[in-house]
Symmetry: C2
Subunit: 278 residues, 2 copies
DNA sequence: TCGCTTTATAGTCAACATGACCATTCACTA
DNA sequence: TAGTGAATGGTCATGTTGACTATAAAGCGA
């Protein structure tokens, strides 16, 4: 969660292309120029068009590590580099729809599996130089997946691969920045939302939920305190009837829970130390 | 802060335009199709281009009310409606730079005044139908202004006007949604960042700072408790030497403070009741 | 069957933060 | 000189958090 935007390169050059004050205000809100008075107005068609893409930071927690889904680039630039999955937004879909479509394609998961997954818009990256070939603005999304039995299906998604987040990079384009922003945002949202359950299967133990927090934050939490806090937060989790899951012989089997109806935590579940940045 | 994205209209139609799986993965990350193999690849130039704009939710606190800067549209559609200020992103600038440029133009403030203002990217609105004339994706920003002595300069900005936030709307396009998202985001960030000082002039009293919280959140806060909390948070504010500002005869003059070096609050300054949504 | 290990769960206690108050100080005005 | 309005300085009960100890339940190996 970086506070500021890419503001480099502002100022001078933009002034140079400015013609009149009327030209500015005529193009308000993404509209054409004043009706008919096209000569002076700011006309978007007079410029090379923007391409709009989505980039996805797809996270899961597996083997007590935060893993991110990456693809290897087959074309230049950055040929052979790892990159975040993504693709073009099509003329008839929103960025959110494009992100969900790409998520299904890259993970190889069916539409039914992908539909309930949490997709969160992070921010938009629009630096003029971020793609050396053309002007591309990219809307970045973060996706949270439980540790699914079918990590990546065959077909289109064969080239996508889970990589531990701390060993990911350097990535193509500005994807290192996007990934860092995504990690920051997810970590921050764990503090005051119930997002952590999205990393878990439908039924999970409190130990698994705690593992999510510990993995995303990179800290150790006290187990009794974590338990107390989660159970004291109304609507965060609710107990599941029936026998606990077989443990495989290690310790007492834990009771199962499922995500509750709440979406926000009151008060928040704060990280042990200070947060990185606003 | 809406949790989910615009996902309406996904699915069917996008499938119809899909050609092959190779076409999908070839256009990864906002690139052209596979080198040379343009026949099958997804080529952005085959589609009508996207226009990219910025929309600004510019807030200030004046007369104990949250005010937002609006412009009146002179062209159709929504001719005569109020709308958020904004405009096209130019080919050589980032969205953030465009937002700052538009902010200067709409407020009539000089570049030096605008430079230190807080601009925060909210999210991107990309619904295919959000502008009836063409495909426009808009990157929304929130800007926080102190109650400046020159509310709006002359010239270009003469048509922009401060409007109380609760009387704003209905606005053109999806600007009601953007404004609501902006208000939610600002309110949430007041809880765990030092953002509130951005609504204040360089030197301010704790009463003025409290007024910001009360106005944005729409609640009343206890003054001694607020004071204790703010002063106990390291780096939030620091005392200013010298005599207090003349009060105009109403009560004891308050000590002046300026924004401290901190950017995040630990622990956060939570709203009295539960937060609206995640 | 008896320990032994492992993990879940229950409970204690002090430090800290918060919300609801009351009291005092200060500058200006009537 | 008293009165008014706002800032500032406290108290106190309550709730939350962090550190820590203790108990319970399951499987394993001897």
């Amino acid at each position: 969660m970086r506070a500021d935007d890419e503001t480099a390169g502002a100022g001078g050059a933009t002034r140079a292309t400015r013609t009149t004050g009327v030209a500015e205000t005529a193009g308000k809100d993404g509209k054409y120029g004043k009706d008919g008075a096209a000569g002076d107005a700011y006309d978007p068609r007079a410029f090379p068009p923007f391409a709009v893409t989505v980039d996805l930071a797809v996270f899961t927690v597996r083997d007590a590590r935060l893993q991110v889904l990456l693809v290897r680039r087959g074309e230049s630039p950055y040929r052979g580099s790892w990159a975040l999955p993504g693709g073009f937004v099509r003329p008839d879909e929103s960025a959110g729809a494009a992100a969900r479509r790409e998520l299904a394609e890259e993970t190889g998961l069916g539409a039914d599996t992908v539909r309930p997954l949490h997709l969160e818009q992070l921010r938009t990256y629009s630096d003029p130089g971020r793609d050396p070939r053309m002007r591309v603005v990219s809307v970045a999304y973060a996706a949270l997946l439980p540790d699914l039995p079918e990590p990546r299906g065959g077909g289109d998604a064969a080239h996508a691969q889970w990589v531990p987040r701390d060993t990911a990079g350097p990535l193509a384009f500005d994807h290192d920045t996007i990934l860092a922003d995504a990690h920051d945002r997810i970590g921050a949202k764990l503090e005051y939302t119930c997002l952590a359950t999205r990393f878990c299967p439908a039924e999970f133990t409190l130990g698994e939920l705690q593992q999510v927090y510990e993995t995303v934050w990179g800290v150790q939490l006290d187990r009794p305190n974590f338990r107390r806090k989660v159970l004291a937060t109304p609507g965060f989790v609710e107990a599941v009837e029936g026998p606990p899951r077989p443990t495989g012989g290690r310790g007492k089997p834990a009771a199962l829970h499922r995500a509750g109806p709440a979406s926000a935590l009151h008060p928040p579940l704060l990280r042990p130390e200070g947060r990185p940045s606003p």
